[in-house]
Symmetry: C2
DNA sequence: CGACAAACGGAGTGATCAGTCCGTATAGTC
DNA sequence: GACTATACGGACTGATCACTCCGTTTGTCG
């Protein structure tokens, strides 16, 4: 389905630069930031941005997928951790923490994969699967209420990210908020 | 500081219409919706929209304040409820539920009042105060962990709204997610 | 009812921005 | 080092949108 011709060295470099710049600019100025702004931040011309990402939406999607891939990789690594409940909690905290700085994680999650429609395809599915393993193991371990689904978990991740977004300046508050959610995850009394 | 001249009857009517339409359109199409679209929805000319709200931002702010006022009123009513913990939980559920339909509550909250800077002024302060009462009573009642602040609570409200945003189609899932957060609110085991 | 101020509708305007195009430059190859 | 395909920069374009302006309408008050 994919027939990736090898990109020229400069092309590959510029693509990465644009992606990084877009990630940063979107995070700081919101997704309404202009393409030209991103081009400037990346040190390339506007044309180059559009060559690699024909549409602004393509660029946004690429940024999101990048984030999701990181998350999926992290989740994957924890799939065989000795303490499933601690693993899930750690992952959750880490994901929220990480997204506090570059706050678009929530949008990334929300944009790519919650709705059943696209949940079946691509990276979204990978993340979903990896989270599913973490969740199920933690549930078997008795550390997470059994009725929760992967979608529930993803929703809570989104919620936690969004909730802590304005709290960037107050790590203690952020910690309290995440703790509330994590404690809520565990089996009810 | 305010010198409200009495508006003409039609002006007052149109202002309300525009506000309602804006609320609906923003909720459905996001805040990027054009002013003309709102004018059409309200059944007025674009000029009228701008006469009442000189800037698009003014319009957005007005919509937000409207929402916050409703919330503050609801919270105020519960200030003397016989069962403080149940009152807080009920308020929380209601707020999230309500925002599921017109999903901009989260932005409303986020936009107007989390940061200490503007927390001191206007409606944001009213809501904050009303929530403070609810929270403190529930904490005294032993139903909510004592270390949480009003800001924490507001953050969690935002988080819950955002988290359940994509779950509009699945009330059961929404319920599970909110329950997780509410149970997390209660004093830890 | 008549007169005046207040408000209305909607055509018009300038700015912004996503996306295109092409002459120039550079990486890869022999 | 020369040749070619690939990629680059940035001027350009068309569309969209926030906001303005003014001739017309409508509420209000004596």
């Amino acid at each position: 389905m994919v027939d990736e011709k090898p990109l020229r060295a400069d092309a590959r470099r510029n693509r990465a630069r644009v992606l990084d710049a877009a990630s940063a600019v979107f995070a700081e100025h919101g997704t309404a930031a202009s393409t030209e702004q991103i081009a400037r931040a990346a040190g390339v011309g506007p044309g180059t941005v559009f060559r690699h990402f024909p549409t602004k939406e393509d660029l946004l999607t690429a940024v999101y997928l990048d984030r999701l891939e990181h998350l999926a990789a992290q989740a994957g690594e924890l799939a065989t951790a000795p303490e499933p409940t601690a693993a899930l909690r750690g992952f959750f905290r880490g994901a929220v923490e990480g997204s506090a700085a570059k706050n678009a994680l929530a949008q990334a999650l929300a944009g790519a994969g919650i709705s059943p429609a696209d949940a079946a395809s691509g990276i979204g599915a990978r993340l979903r699967a990896a989270l599913g393993v973490l969740l199920e193991r933690a549930q078997r371990d008795g550390g997470v209420r059994p009725e929760l689904t992967v979608t529930d978990l993803m929703s809570l991740l989104i919620g936690a990210s969004r909730a802590t977004e304005p709290l960037a300046a107050d790590p203690a508050a952020r910690d309290r908020v995440v703790t509330v959610i994590l404690d809520g995850l565990s089996a009810s009394r």
